[in-house]
Symmetry: C2
Subunit: 260 residues, 2 copies
């Protein structure tokens, strides 16, 4: 008698052809049965967007699938992919949802802009243990080879231990050689932000337009943050919740003169 | 000598022509100097999306502005609107950012899908006190008249008291007559979710597609939640944070066997 293999839902925000998700699929096939439902085009910066005023297509990708696993490309956002996978594609609720491996960081404040993490959060909302994986290298040619052991170990540990309701994991991996990585640090989201510096241009018709650009600024000197871990050669793991209530402020807010 | 009037940035996710933002502009002009930078088209369900791979236009709307205030329509998301307002449009950092009044609820889990709240959160990230206002009525013809006193009082209180760094307010107003509203309740985000029920159709070319639909399910019986307040005739105020760290889970996560 063999135990049932875990059922693993894989998605991302860079699109189904991105090297990061191809790597993640290879790794997950070592751990369980895999179904891929991922965007048909890049969705970076989509945050937790969902498609409410448009149609969603979700079609099998025959060139990618084999006897072992099925893949679907979806015209929606990463959060849409998770919703449609669970509701329309999969025969049972997955045991875990993994998102990534993102080409670029989703540490600290990037978590709120991240399509990769929105997929993990959406799975969490639906009661599925979930992890977002990101590599600190935006390049399409990024080297993911040093990610293997960390991605597999963290996923195995979540499959073994589960996650509390309302918590998913945000894993960021530094752009280093395997031999340079010092291990894993569990920490908190650093207090950091992007300071915008819009690039203003004029189009050929004479109308001004902008490109969003900016500089990442970390205001946080704590050594228990994801930014500290990454800057010091560690893989960062941050438990992320989607109860956004600032519980610490409720008592003070109740003392305000709010009622007209 | 008169004190300087507060400088108020107004945005939303339903677009600059929506009745909800027109109402909010009227109310805010009683409280301070107003600048409007809002999407040129509806952005519902956009979550905390930002525009990273496309150009952004942001043009004055001459038909709306008068001697007292300026308005700009922006091709980007609500979060883009706040970024571009602060960086490119306004001569100084606003004293407050208000977003809405949204046509439809942003209570409980809706906060993570909400363009209205993403604008407030973006302002919060930039250190600006911020409030998202939503009315529990999706109709374009929604009656906002009972919102006036609550919107002005809550905004005045934030201007007077400030908000702690890292906290913004999520205000939801029930669809009731003014006389039926029992007051304001400060509470927490209810533990609720959307249970999807995709509407699958076939297009004229024979290809299947989906519409996202679903049923809202509240799993939370607490009387300290936003859902309870709204169901019982109160305006709900929830303090919202964007440090998403699940601090309560860090100790346990450190006990896992994470390092390969």
């Amino acid at each position: 008698m063999t135990a049932q293999k875990p059922l693993i839902l894989i998605t991302n925000d860079d699109g189904i052809t991105a090297p990061g998700i191809r790597k993640l699929i290879t790794l997950m096939k070592e751990l369980g049965d895999v179904i891929v439902v991922a965007p048909d085009s890049p969705q970076s910066g989509m945050g937790h967007a969902i498609t409410v005023n448009d149609t969603i297509y979700c079609d099998p990708v025959r060139e990618f699938q084999d006897a072992d696993h099925k893949e679907y490309k979806c015209s929606g956002t990463p959060a849409d992919c998770v919703k449609i996978a669970v509701q329309e594609i999969m025969h049972r609720k997955p045991d875990i949802c993994v998102s990534g491996i993102n080409h670029g960081s989703n540490s600290s404040i990037n978590v709120i802009y991240s399509g990769t993490m929105s997929a993990a959060v959406e799975a969490g909302v639906e009661g599925i243990p979930a992890i977002g994986f990101s590599l600190l290298d935006y390049s399409i040619d990024a080297d993911f080879s040093h990610c293997d052991t960390f991605v597999k170990r963290i996923t195995s540990q979540v499959l073994e231990n589960g996650l509390p309701q309302g918590v998913v994991l945000n894993v960021n991996i530094p752009k280093l050689k395997a031999s340079e990585i010092r291990g894993i640090k569990v920490g908190r989201q650093a207090n950091a932000q992007w300071v915008e510096d819009f690039d203003k241009r004029t189009n050929p018709m004479g109308r001004d337009y902008y490109w969003l650009s900016g500089e990442f600024v970390n205001h946080d000197e704590g050594q228990d943050t994801d930014e500290w871990a990454l800057a010091n050669g560690y893989v960062s793991v941050v438990p992320v919740q989607f109860d956004l209530t600032a519980h610490r402020f409720i008592t003070e807010l109740n003392s305000w003169n709010l009622n007209p």
